[in-house]
């Protein structure tokens, strides 16, 4: 991990929906080769931040740099560095997995040979090779999630952005996914993930951020978060609950 080289920089990212503020000036740096976990209770703003990072929605203010590129002024170059797996794997249902890979690969200008070889490798890894000629519409949630994961890696992105990667996956697939992320990081890639499965975050992530009501309330390694919560021997679940409850109390006191 190269701590000196941020590959993602969030600079004052805000998102408002009318009177409601989903993100309050988020500033965050993710470093190259890092496996970064982004945690928070429901409705805290995790998915909103990820959707802004992947260019799906526009922020109300702020900037994001992906590598040397400004996401909003050079979206094509910035987005080419990202591979994204959403929390709900809505895919083109009338295509087979291989046809879906061809479609996604084409959008990222990937050579057909690479799509086919990488696609086969990934489908075999996730035990979907035998179902390569079936339409995606017949797949379960977990299978679709795996197809989305395979498609996100086809263009060999520098950064892998994953929203709730373990939802709907069976235990074997969860293990496969975790190993897959570790392998990516070992190969010098960066992984930015959100999850509610705190054991997965604790197992995998080098650094973690906790967001609450649109604000980042804690940031650091597992040890740093334990210190921040004054719970040196506790697991991430206890630390998470302590920090988020503390924050809530503080806000209530202020009010």
């Amino acid at each position: 991990m190269n701590q000196s080289e941020p590959i993602i920089r969030f600079c004052g990212i805000e998102k408002r929906y009318g009177a409601f503020t989903a993100l309050k000036s988020v500033n965050l740096e993710i470093f190259k080769g890092e496996l970064f976990g982004f945690l928070g209770p429901n409705g805290a703003g995790k998915t909103t931040l990820i959707r802004i990072l992947t260019g799906i929605i526009q922020p109300s203010g702020g900037q994001i740099f992906i590598g040397p590129y400004d996401l909003f002024s050079q979206p094509d170059k910035a987005k080419a560095m990202l591979g994204y797996v959403p929390d709900r794997p809505y895919l083109y249902e009338k295509l087979t997995p291989l046809e879906y890979f061809e479609f996604m690969g084409g959008l990222y200008n990937v050579a057909l040979e690479r799509i086919l070889s990488k696609g086969e490798e990934m489908l075999r890894m996730f035990d979907l090779w035998d179902r390569r000629n079936e339409l995606i519409e017949s797949f379960s949630h977990g299978m679709k999630q795996k197809v989305a994961m395979c498609a996100a890696i086809l263009h060999d992105p520098e950064i892998f952005v994953v929203d709730e990667p373990t939802v709907g996956l069976d235990p074997r697939s969860v293990k496969l996914a975790k190993n897959f992320f570790k392998q990516l990081v070992a190969n010098g890639k960066t992984v930015f993930l959100t999850t509610h499965t705190l054991s997965v975050a604790q197992d995998l992530c080098h650094r973690l951020a906790i967001i609450r009501q649109g604000d980042i309330v804690a940031l650091g390694t597992m040890n740093e978060l334990q210190k921040r919560a004054s719970m040196s021997d506790s697991n991430l679940e206890d630390v998470f609950l302590k920090i988020t409850e503390e924050e809530l109390e503080q806000q209530t006191n202020i009010l």
Binding site: I56, G106, Y108, N109, L135
Partner: protein
């Protein structure tokens, strides 16, 4: 709790569609709809009134044959209506009984199965019948007026119609319940969507093959008595459409008592049908629903050869265009409900060409036929425009919505929304222009165009119209995109689809208005040689205005669609 309360979420959803629309636009649309309905009513009334008198058949035979003809037309309309409701009811039943998203919650609740079923039956009946009734009502009232019906007939007739649409809906309900016990539901829904299009296509050919225009031309008849006999025979005896036909004819002739007697079989069958279907559903509905949950989705990669043929040339294009085009073609070919629409479109195009080919231009004195021919050639472009617009509504307009919830994949990719829209515009423009030109060539050959300028102008018009119509379909389709819609047919029949058709019509009127002066000069020049350059200047101004207007008509909807897509936030 009653069945009505169970369908209230669907009504709320329907209300939400309109609640955030601009009030002025809604009022305008409402007025436009009333105006269109009034136009259909009055136009058809005048036509029926003329057919009823049939002056070309003489004073003796005219009114007798005319009355029979009007009656026959009404029977044909009821028969068409019956088949339309029957097929749409099977599709609606499969959706409402088995695929509705509220069903898992309802089925796991302690509500009695009969109550759940009745609520779904109500939803299905409304879904399958409302559009047919709304569109046919002005036409049916025109028949009532043409047959001199008194005002009570207008009040009673909707109840007759209610019994009439109940029967195909009940048949559809029985069919759907029975099918669910044996076949995978999603597959059956597609099969029925496919079949319904085939039946409608067949119906178009059947109605055209009756050659109604011959009925008004005495020279076609050899044996008048045979002809009268054939008119008096019902199209299908002892059928709901023949019962309704007899009852309606009595009602419109103000024999209300007789009409009520004639409608009795229909009413008895409807009430009995509701009772039997309820019994049947009480016994089998939950079982069928469970079977439908176990059934797998469509695994058949049908028409794979056609897909391969269409996508083969795409390999030579840029990768983004190739993959988007490839996906569009694949999705199109693999959805029977969508590609089967082509059959209906082919039937409409065929009937249009055939209608033109039998126009009695030869019967008109030669001095005027040239002018009439040229006027028809001039108006043919806009007519082709309407055909192309209706094809665009079914195939091009839903193309943005059909990206569905998977649109995040495109939005998060490096491909800009502008490129996506341009790719779709180009992709659909090619077949649309091709279709327009083929239609233009065929119809020009039918008309035997006398003036070369007219010939070029007809092609020029068709190219401009298809360009605007395709841009409108993509742009308006993006502005009114519904990414959660399941079927392109629903998207085509949506509020946005209506706006698209309205705007297509406005452009065609715009084009005609700007070409009226050059056309007038073209005709005028045949009789008088025009001196001076003022005419040329005005023609040049018309041409420049036409090109400028066309550019605006292409640009504005596209720009508006692009803005919407750029700001769209997928789920």
């Amino acid at each position: 709790m009653n069945s009505l309360q169970l369908v209230s979420p669907a009504f709320k959803k329907f209300r939400r569609v309109f609640s955030h629309r601009n009030r002025k636009v809604l009022a305008f649309l409402l007025l436009g709809s009333f105006f269109t309905a009034a136009l259909i009513y009055y136009g058809l009334y005048r036509f029926l009134e003329y057919v009823g008198r049939a002056p070309m058949l003489g004073d003796t035979f005219g009114p007798v044959l005319g009355a029979l003809l009007v009656s026959k037309l009404l029977e044909m309309l009821f028969l068409t209506l019956f088949f339309m409701v029957l097929f749409s009811s099977v599709i609606a039943a499969l959706s409402s009984f088995f695929l509705n998203e509220e069903l898992p919650t309802l089925m796991s609740s302690p509500l009695p199965i009969g109550l759940i079923f009745r609520s779904r039956l109500l939803l299905m009946t409304i879904e399958s019948s409302w559009m047919v009734l709304v569109f046919f009502m002005p036409a049916l009232f025109a028949f009532a007026t043409a047959l001199n019906a008194n005002w009570p007939a207008y009040l009673i007739f909707p109840f007759f119609l209610l019994f009439f649409v109940m029967l195909p809906n009940l048949a559809g309900g029985f069919t759907a319940l029975a099918l669910a016990a044996f076949f995978p539901i999603r597959q059956m829904k597609k099969v029925f969507q496919f079949l319904s299009i085939l039946v409608l296509t067949g119906l178009i050919f059947f109605l055209r093959s009756l050659e109604a225009e011959k009925l008004l031309n005495p020279s076609y008849f050899k044996d008048i008595s045979q002809y009268i006999l054939s008119l008096e025979l019902p199209l299908i005896s002892y059928s709901p459409s023949s019962w309704l036909h007899k009852a309606s004819m009595n009602l419109f002739h103000n024999n209300t008592g007789e009409a009520l007697l004639q409608i009795a079989p229909l009413a008895i069958c409807s009430v009995l049908g509701i009772f039997l279907l309820n019994l049947f559903a009480g016994r089998f509905y939950r079982q069928s629903w469970q079977l439908s949950m176990e059934a797998v989705d469509n695994q058949v990669l049908g028409l794979e050869w056609l897909r391969r043929v269409i996508v083969w040339p795409l390999r030579y294009f840029d990768p983004v265009f190739r993959v988007i085009a490839n996906k569009e073609v694949t999705t199109f070919v693999r959805d029977p409900a969508v590609f089967s629409q082509i059959f209906m479109m082919v039937a409409i195009v065929f009937v249009y060409g055939y209608n033109l080919s039998i126009l009695p231009l030869k019967d008109i004195p030669s001095l005027y036929s040239g002018e009439l021919n040229d006027t028809l050639v001039f108006l043919n472009g806009p007519f082709i425009g309407f055909i192309v617009a209706s094809i665009g509504m079914r195939f091009v307009f839903p193309s943005i919505s059909m990206e569905g919830r998977a649109f995040w994949a495109v939005k998060s990719s490096p491909v800009s929304p502008r490129k996506i829209l341009f790719t779709k515009l180009f992709l659909y423009l090619v077949p649309m222009v091709f279709l327009g030109i083929v239609l233009c060539m065929v119809t020009n050959s039918v008309f035997k165009v006398s003036h070369p300028i007219l010939l070029y102008l007809s092609f020029f018009n068709v190219i401009l119209i298809t360009l605007v119509i395709t841009s409108l379909a993509i742009g308006v389709g993006a502005v009114y995109a519904d990414f959660s819609a399941e079927s392109p047919l629903k998207i085509a029949g949506s509020y946005g689809g209506f706006i698209y058709m309205l705007l297509s019509g406005f452009y065609i009127i715009n084009l005609l208005a700007l070409e009226v002066y050059p056309m007038y000069r073209l005709f005028f020049n045949r009789f008088y040689v025009v001196r001076g350059s003022s005419g040329i200047v005005l023609i040049a101004i018309s041409a420049i205005l036409l090109l400028a207007c066309t550019a605006i008509w292409v640009y504005l909807p596209f720009r508006k669609g692009l803005d919407t897509i750029e700001n769209y936030e997928p789920e």
